[in-house]
């Protein structure tokens, strides 16, 4: 009888864990769908920021990136990033394809009742393709399609999972105390470094930097760009709050709040700064400001207060017009501002972890953060530079002048975006 009572109570407790698991798991799946929307956001934003004659090309690339990203992460990437074995390591590979443990081991026991194996995979897979999408915007309007897709395949299959493993796969950076909630460095800076390597090797779009100064090449559709940014903001709620990796009410709601505040502050910061700098209300800067704020808060969204989030975002917003102008001065032509948004704000956001919130002690954390930024930056930039460089040698990465003038759409796809 006594035992029966205990059994009933235990049964209830088990049932509770199961329901708790169900909640967390479904939340991470919903977050996955929201992260998926970021691909749509990037596609819209980048399409809006290029000229009409290159719109089909950028859409095609972004579509294929998602497909290639998901497939290659399924076959190789996931097992390169979360190899299971040896914490603190530099590299590991758990074999090709998925191998879900049977029974509870693949479900409620997989991550301590927070999410199952398939959930883990699909959430991480959605993230993976993001780093290529970031590159695609920066190299737009002049890169050849095929070499770009090959670059993406290698970047998302090898480079991203390896550096990702260093932190999220319990690798050496994790051991060191490096912190990056959802990927200010692991995703955004990684994309930014790839973008930087690309635009250095490609050179600017012809006509951008003239003797008489910088000729702006306005994007062909501001509504498309705006839709893209707001969709990215929406998706980012899933990106950051899904990275809590459970439905823990305190953490998830904090992340929602800090994410929103940083984005808003980013818009404000970029608005004020660009208005002062250029004496003009520049929509593209405000849009980049939002994205900057989002990138900046990505590392620390679960550990700062609202006011700190506003500060982090505000600084991102201020950085955006400065960075855009800076890269332009170096004649590094980036049609969508990907390096300013993802690289600069990604680095700042990673540093911010050590300045705000309550992540370990100040100095130790700062050291870990700087090492992380440097190590991942060095690896990624070298990888991307080597791959782009090799492709340049082997098959060329830039379209001909004539193709550039008449547009990649008509040359590579034989259609026009609008008719």
């Amino acid at each position: 009888m006594e035992n029966a009572n205990i059994d009933a109570a235990n049964q209830a407790l088990n049932a509770v864990s199961e329901v708790g698991f169900t909640v967390s798991n479904i939340w991470i799946l919903i977050a996955t769908a929201m992260v998926f929307v970021m691909h749509l956001g990037f596609a819209s934003l980048e399409a809006g920021f290029v000229r009409q004659k290159n719109v089909v090309n950028i859409l095609f690339k972004n579509i294929m990136i998602v497909a290639i990203g998901l497939l290659s992460y399924y076959i190789i990437g996931f097992n390169l990033m979360y190899p299971g074995g040896e914490p603190g390591g530099f590299f590991g590979f758990a074999g090709f394809g998925l191998s879900m443990p049977d029974g509870a081991a693949g479900l409620i026991d997989y991550a301590g009742g927070a999410y199952g194996y398939h959930t883990d995979f699909i959430f991480q897979a959605m993230f993976a393709a993001t780093c290529c999408t970031i590159v695609s915007g920066a190299v737009a309007e002049r890169i050849k399609l095929m070499p770009f897709l090959i670059f993406c395949l290698l970047f998302v299959t090898l480079s991203y999972p390896i550096t990702g493993m260093w932190k999220w796969g319990q690798g050496w950076l994790d051991q060191l105390g490096f912190y990056d909630l959802a990927g200010s460095t692991l995703v955004h800076s990684v994309g930014g470094w790839g973008a930087l390597a690309g635009i250095i090797l490609l050179g600017p779009r012809s006509g951008k930097y003239t003797d008489k100064g910088i000729k702006p090449i306005p994007g062909h559709s501001m509504p498309l760009a705006t839709i893209g940014v707001l969709l990215l903001w929406f998706g980012w709620f899933g990106f950051n709050a899904g990275s809590v990796l459970s439905a823990d009410p305190g953490a998830v709601s904090l992340v929602f709040m800090t994410t929103a505040m940083a984005a808003a502050a980013g818009a404000l910061g970029a608005f004020v700064t660009s208005t002062l700098m250029f004496r003009n209300y520049d929509l593209s800067m405000a849009l980049n400001g939002i994205l900057g704020g989002l990138v900046g808060i990505t590392a620390s969204a679960d550990g700062v207060t609202g006011t700190e989030a506003i500060l982090i975002g505000l600084i991102c917003g201020v950085l955006i017009p400065l960075a855009v102008t800076f890269f332009d001065r170096l004649k590094l032509d980036d049609p969508v501002g990907a390096t300013s948004v993802h690289l600069v704000c990604g680095i700042w956001g990673t540093i911010a972890v050590a300045l705000f919130g309550n992540y370990g002690d100040g100095v130790g954390t700062m050291q870990a953060q700087l090492i992380g930024i440097a190590a991942i930056g060095a690896f990624t930039f070298t990888f991307a530079f080597a791959v782009f460089g090799l492709l340049k040698l082997l098959m060329g990465i830039r379209v001909s002048r004539e193709e550039e003038f008449s547009g990649l759409d008509i040359h590579e796809h034989h259609v026009k975006a609008y008719s």
């Binding site: 910088i214 000729k215 702006p216 250029f278 800067m285 855009v324 102008t325 332009d328």
Partner: protein, 114 residues
């Protein structure tokens, strides 16, 4: 037959059209063109870089009239398109060798009175 061509400010199109109508000229063709002249265009500013878009968007009118209408038509346009500010545009007249109405097949001034 004469062909009158006028390059005017887009913002005066409605007035010019009304003036032509008041002169019983209801038929004409127009399209959007871009012009360089005394008037300079507003600057375009994007991502910190400023540039002179250069041209100004204008409307070009083409009106084919018989000799008798040339003066009335030109007068109406000159009046209605005038603002006195730089950028009012220009008006020219040239001679046509032949004019035919495609529907009626009538030629010369009959082509537009039909």
């Amino acid at each position: 037959m004469k062909k009158i061509e006028a390059i005017i400010r887009a913002s005066r199109f409605d007035e010019v059209k009304a003036a032509l109508e008041s002169q019983d000229i209801h038929f004409f063709t127009f399209y959007e063109v871009k012009g360089y002249g005394h008037q300079k265009s507003a600057n375009i500013q994007y991502r910190g870089a400023i540039y002179d878009q250069g041209y100004i968007a204008r409307v070009k009118l083409e009106i084919i009239v018989s000799e008798g209408f040339v003066e009335k038509a030109c007068g109406a346009i000159l009046d209605a398109a005038h603002t006195g500010e730089k950028g009012d545009g220009i008006l020219s007249v040239c001679e046509l060798n032949m004019l035919t109405n495609i529907r009626t097949g009538l030629t010369g001034s009959d082509a537009i009175n039909s």
